[in-house]
């Protein structure tokens, strides 16, 4: 198996899909000739042409809206938001048109929206957000957030094959930092959680860029046996895997890079309170960004985003409880 970066894995998935299915098209700003702001589609136009690797007008609502139209007549559009932050401009189309379509009239909308998300590189308030919770709160939209190169590829294939709108949260911080062996060709990873490392004293529940943070923070935690559960999919949320980890470990730290209020981790915490209460041996602890825009200057940004130290400290505290 080739070793690919997270970003190369995403590229490979898109290339494999374009080769395998003539209905797959890529739509986005600067993805064609330029190859995308992060070079995910670098060189694609040479193989697939400008129709299938489409440089669109600078219009996020237009990208989502036209993708919906194309999808309901049989295409499989994969939209790229240049930064996930810009999905706010396409929010209405995604939430009101795509998300409600099947419920209202039984019409499937197979679109994938790629959302390069997250901070950690001085992107500032408009290039660092983690907007996944908005879509978790919107019925009819699936949300996935891989943390490894293999899952990035397998989940992207699964997202494109899925008959529903799927928000694919790809974390910019992982693009070139995460590497791994990735199977060639088209394969799917399920929309379910994955035990990244088994343990029994405490479980850290995370997704996306917080998975490697959780693994590093708990690698050697005074000999404690710490499980790390990688959610991978936020909608659907793998309740069974979460409750299974809670049952075994009884102590839970939930990590979001997103700001805390109503974030994905809040939903996980609520689920545990509701269905895992009898397994708990301590308060459910959350580590997340405070409710502020992500600041630009490095010391400010570092003060906001959860890192290895904060996660480790939270685990230590809870283990001692």
């Amino acid at each position: 198996m080739p070793t690919l970066t997270y970003l190369q894995a995403i590229s490979a998935a898109l290339r494999d899909e374009l080769r395998a299915d003539p209905n797959v098209i890529l739509m986005g700003e600067d993805i064609g000739v330029f190859g995308g702001a992060f070079k995910v589609t670098d060189g694609f136009v040479d193989e697939f042409g400008t129709d299938r690797v489409m440089d669109t007008p600078l219009a996020e609502s237009g990208i989502i809206g036209t993708a919906i139209g194309a999808a309901v007549v049989g295409m499989r559009p994969v939209c790229e938001m240049q930064f996930s932050d810009f999905i706010s401009c396409g929010f209405d189309q995604l939430v009101n048109v795509a998300g409600k379509m099947h419920y209202r009239q039984g019409l499937a909308v197979p679109i994938t929206v790629r959302l390069p998300s997250g901070g950690g590189f001085s992107g500032g308030p408009f290039h660092s957000q983690n907007p996944e919770a908005w879509f978790m709160h919107s019925p009819g939209i699936k949300v996935v957030a891989p943390s490894t190169a293999e899952d990035a590829k397998g989940l992207l294939h699964a997202a494109i094959h899925d008959p529903n709108p799927v928000c694919f949260m790809e974390h910019k911080h992982l693009y070139r930092r995460v590497k791994g062996e990735v199977p060639s060709g088209v394969f799917e990873r399920p929309f379910s959680a994955r035990v990244a490392r088994p343990g029994s004293d405490l479980v850290v529940i995370a997704y996306g860029a917080m998975v490697p943070v959780a693994l590093e923070a708990t690698e050697d935690l005074d000999g404690a046996s710490v499980e790390v559960l990688d959610l991978r999919s936020l909608v659907p949320l793998d309740e069974e895997a979460i409750l299974d980890s809670v049952e075994r470990c009884s102590k839970v730290v939930i990590v979001d890079e997103a700001n805390a209020t109503c974030a994905a981790g809040a939903q996980v915490a609520a689920l545990i309170a509701e269905k895992g209460f009898e397994s708990l041996d301590g308060p459910v602890v959350r580590v997340a960004s405070p409710d502020v825009p992500i600041p630009f200057s490095p010391p400010l940004e570092a003060a906001v985003l959860p890192g290895v130290d904060r996660v480790r400290e939270a685990c230590r505290e809870l283990l001692a409880y």
Binding site: A59, V73, L107
Partner: protein
């Protein structure tokens, strides 16, 4: 693409070149059925049988009937809430429409959505959402797919004068112009967006904007069903020939309030009276009566069909509350839109 100014469409009896007598009767039938069904639905609303609010297209029947009649089976439509005739032309039965209004299981959305917020996907229609004009982008996307695949089809959508103020109007017009897509935009200018008159909506007649986006804009008498048909037919021709989108501004008047609760006090009485003289149904009836058509028999036939539809719809069950959470996600294969009915004689076999 040269700049086009609004062209007055042919009106009166001059538009019949592409219409047989049967076609012209079909157009009247669609309008009569629309008006009759909406009147019946309003009665049901007052009887407490229709939940929520109720919106109708009284006085604007020609806009949807004329435009939809020009569309082929493989064309795709995003239909607005005052365009019931378009659904009827595509083949949705009156009983299903009344069931839809009443939130019954047999309605097109089986009670998930109300009013004319529906589209029968098997008949090539996508139901609208309330965020207007979101469907302009959806129609643009469908047209984009047709063009990418090299298919000779078009997409058509309707939207109102209020919609011209929103960003999605611009994004769709621009996108369609840039990519020269086979899409027909029908601006249903009925003078009011809820209570807001057009002079508070735009500074320039929106049909002029088509030129700014690089395609043709035409203004049509929206109360002349045959003129509406002709404008849409020509727009479709343009689309299928690869000449890009068309903006048709159908000038009409909303003769009822925004919804059942709206007494329309903000509309001058003279304006309503003036438009009443231009009722699209009376105009088409006059033409056909001149051509020897028995209008009374047609009306009787339609009334009977509405009575039967109401009886059927009222007898139908309400949706099972146990199904309220079903169908949020598609769990099987994604099925694209199907083909609709296309009764115009120009499509031959129809």
């Amino acid at each position: 693409m040269a700049t086009h100014t609004a062209e007055p469409a042919a009106g009166g009896a001059a538009a019949v070149e592409h219409l047989t007598l049967e076609d012209r009767i079909w157009l009247l039938r669609a309008m009569l059925l629309m008006r009759g069904l909406e009147e019946r639905a309003m009665t049901l609303y007052r009887q407490g049988k229709v939940p929520g609010s109720f919106y109708d297209g009284y006085g604007q029947e020609a806009v949807s009937a004329g435009a939809a009649f020009a569309m082929g089976p493989q064309d795709r439509l995003c239909i607005l809430h005052r365009d019931l005739a378009a659904h009827l032309i595509r083949g949705v039965t009156p009983a299903r429409i009344l069931s839809q209004y009443m939130g019954r299981a047999a309605g097109i959305t089986a009670g998930r959505d109300g009013n004319v917020h529906f589209g029968d996907r098997r008949l090539g229609c996508v139901g609208m959402v309330s965020m207007l004009p979101d469907m302009m982008l959806v129609a643009t996307g469908m047209a984009m797919a047709f063009k990418l695949r090299g298919e000779r089809r078009c997409a058509l959508t309707w939207f109102g004068d209020g919609s011209t103020s929103r960003g999605d109007f611009h994004e769709a017009m621009n996108w369609a112009g840039v990519q020269k897509l086979p899409v027909v935009f029908v601006l249903e200018n009925n003078q009011y967006a809820y209570s807001t008159p057009v002079d508070k909506q735009y500074a320039v007649d929106p049909v002029e904007r088509a030129a700014a986006y690089g395609f043709v804009g035409v203004t049509v008498d929206g109360n002349d069903v045959e003129a509406m048909f002709e404008a849409a037919r020509a727009a479709r021709e343009r689309a299928l020939s690869g000449d890009g989108p068309t903006l048709i501004e159908a000038v009409t008047m909303r003769m009822h309030g925004h919804a059942a609760h709206d007494d329309m006090k903000y509309v001058p009485k003279e304006q309503v009276e003036e438009w009443r003289k231009r009722d699209p149904i009376e105009r088409q009836e006059a033409r056909l009566r001149d051509a020897g058509v028995d209008i009374d028999a047609l009306r009787a036939e339609i009334k009977a069909s509405i009575d039967a539809a109401a009886e059927e719809a009222l007898a139908g069950p309400m949706p099972d509350p146990g199904t309220a959470t079903d169908g949020v996600f598609c769990t099987g294969e994604a099925e694209p839109l199907g083909d609709g009915q296309a009764p115009w004689s120009g499509f031959g076999a129809a």
